[in-house]
């Protein structure tokens, strides 16, 4: 049984490593505390004519039994804070080097679908050679290259979530949130793009797909998107499970 999905981005392994480290601490503390609790119970059950010990927990001699473990907790907390901050900084901020080499793409959420805008051959958004991606086709990203995601929404809150990238970010109307991802594997089956923030009645059906392609394919895509789209499959059409697909949550 695989617990985590495959990791196919340059920072996915950092997050997986963090999960493993935290798990070690958490399981260790849980096991020790639970063992202490049950040891305490089963060695202290009522006996005929027995008398409980009067231990009010005053003074170092008594409180050391809880204060020494507490110091260890503080140490573990500090360690987790440090490793967390390292990974957080790596995922959430782009270095200048990454920024210089990145390929921008605009991702827009709206009830209940995703749309994409590509920078074209000049590699810059906001210029004349920008073009819209086709509805019904996946988001195309190049492999081993930093993609600068410009995330926004036209109506509600949505959330851009790709499990394989270990990346998730709310998208908000009225602002553009810039984050990055570097895919590390050409996708066989497309990765699923999930809306992970409730956005209305059909939030559950707001699904997209991400296709990671080789640099040559990506260049071909930018040069002639229509031809490239011809050659790839459509995404799975949205399956509105609602009986009333146009019904709007209020």
């Amino acid at each position: 049984m695989k617990i985590l999905p495959d990791s196919f981005s340059s920072y996915a392994a950092d997050i997986d490593g963090l999960i493993i480290e935290i798990t070690i601490f958490v399981v260790a503390w849980f096991v020790v505390s639970t063992a202490a609790l049950f040891y305490g119970i089963f060695t202290s059950l009522k006996t005929e004519g027995g008398k409980a010990k009067y231990i009010p927990g005053i003074g170092w001699e008594q409180t050391k039994w809880i204060l020494i473990p507490l110091i260890l907790v503080v140490a573990c907390d500090m360690y987790i804070d440090i490793i967390t901050t390292k990974v957080w900084t790596k995922v959430e901020f782009m270095t200048d080097d990454q920024k210089a080499k990145s390929v921008p793409v605009k991702v827009t959420g709206q009830q209940f679908e995703w749309s994409f805008q590509y920078a074209g051959a000049d590699g810059k958004l906001g210029t004349t050679d920008d073009f819209d991606g086709d509805y019904g086709k996946p988001l195309i990203l190049p492999v081993n290259k930093v993609s600068e995601l410009n995330l926004s929404s036209v109506d509600m809150l949505h959330n851009f979530f790709v499990r394989e990238f270990r990346f998730k970010q709310d998208v908000i109307p009225g602002r553009v949130i810039v984050r990055w991802v570097e895919a590390t594997q050409i996708s066989g089956k497309n990765y699923e793009l999930i809306c992970a923030e409730i956005c209305g009645s059909n939030h559950g059906s707001m699904r997209g797909e991400v296709k990671v392609v080789s640099p040559e394919d990506y260049a071909e895509f930018l040069a002639n998107p229509a031809a490239f789209y011809e050659g790839i499959a459509d995404i799975k059409p949205p399956q509105y499970t609602s009986r009333f697909p146009d019904e709007e949550g209020s």
Binding site: L45, A52, P56, G57, D81, K86, F161, S201, S250
Partner: protein, 562 residues
Amino acid sequence: MSSHETGLLGKIFSTDHKVIGKQYFFTGLLFAFIGGMFAVVFRIKLAWPGSMDMSGTVYNGLVTNHAMIMFFWAAMPVLLAALGNFVIPLMIGCDDMAFPKLNMMSFWIFLVSTLVLVLSLISGLWGGGGPTATGWTIYPPLSASYGGDYSTVGAVLGNLISGPSLLILAVALEFASMLMGGINFMVTSLNMRAKGMKFMDIPIVVWFVNLAALDFMFSVGPLIAGAVMLLFDRVFGTGFYDPARGGDPVLFQHLFWFFGHPEVYVVLLPALGIVAEIIPTFTRKPLFAYRLVLISAVASAFIALIVWAHHQFIAGIDPRMATFFSITTIIISIPFALIMFAYIASYFGGQIEMKTPMLWATGFVSMFLVGGVTGIYLGSSAFDIYAHDSYFVVAHFHYTLIPVVFFGGISGIYYWFPKFSGKFMSEGLGKLHFWLTIIGLNVFAFPLFFTGMWGQHRRIVDYQVYDFMVEQDWILQFRVVATIGAIILAASQLLLFINIFKSAVSGEPAGKNPWKSNTLEWVADSPPPHGNFETYPTCYRGPYEYSHPDRSGSDYWPQNEQ
């Protein structure tokens, strides 16, 4: 000692803190039942998607109102209002609350809030959109958009009587009621303590209820402000949260969570307090490190006010800010670790009798450890990039709130029932209830950690939309297992209702002090009359002097005996 209310109306519109406590308690139980039923229905839909035809709106409505009801109309009235009302005057040795009429008003406003809540649920009957379906966090813009017509009085009124508007009103009324209760608790605890009761003689549960009330007071203001702005956006068409008109939806998230996180401690602290009363009584030894436990709780109540943005790590806040909140969140584990260590240490060297209340209290300690340690994961901002809004979060908070509300709250019911009815509850039924509940909790919530790790996220009515959520057999099976656990958990609560009513009618008489406990409520008759005590007790010592070496012939030393 005090006037006795007579007649049926006098008994219903009573200013007696015990009657008001009971009114809160039974109203809370009724809503816990309704909220629980919502959960059973949508869990069945999740496990067997073909079993019912349910739209996303209905599903979101069930999820939203399950959370709202369980939190604001079950956990809050039972663990804060009912508990505070029952135990504070009795445990500090006075005849009633400082402001009995305010106390009565608090309950009746609460009752009005439940009616407005019901109106919001049935608002579909007059075209008001039906139950709120925005998730319990009622984030705008989703919650702010409605109708779009603000031009006439009729249109504005129509916006006002729509489901989410009514829900926001109901929550505001409920908060007004809890504020009145909280003020009463604090004034009573500060001014009406028995002669001789110093601060360090006050039982932990009284301290913790007061800390909870204090946290509530500090945090609720911003939320009310946020809710009023949201209501204005909905009803009058203002643009506080509309970016097109200079507003910002993230503002609401800050106001919501500034309240929303301390709110968890508002129910957690009373439950920790109940357990702190039960453990010494049934181990026959003092609570370990009373002062450290109290200091930790004060620290946690303060830190609780500066962790809120950990709910928003990836909601669009500045990533630099997240580091601060990640650190404060992980720091809050320190006071709670100390409290849990002190509770565990209290067991060592005791003479433990596993009566039903003790079994539930021990269940709380053991299960709350799971909720506590998994909080460390979610305090880590980088892990949250992956886990935010996933079932890992769902599993974590059910492992904190179910121990708190079920195990903490129910241990209190089994512990104080003899005081308030004069009868024992059935031990056999109580233990059966315990084992079914703890099995139900774990079968329900543990699999959700794994489905969350796999990436299953919240508020999705039908997981068949996504390939990854159906392509592995185990994830399908885990969803079914979790549903079976939820059904066991919900169904076994019937035993509590049966036990309460059976014992109230035909329970064994309990007498004044059935558990041989120290605190002052056990000095009064069972059940205590209006006015509580024949003569006001005097307090000579702390609440947990069990098996004291200076006391001969008895292993407990009531606070009122010299």
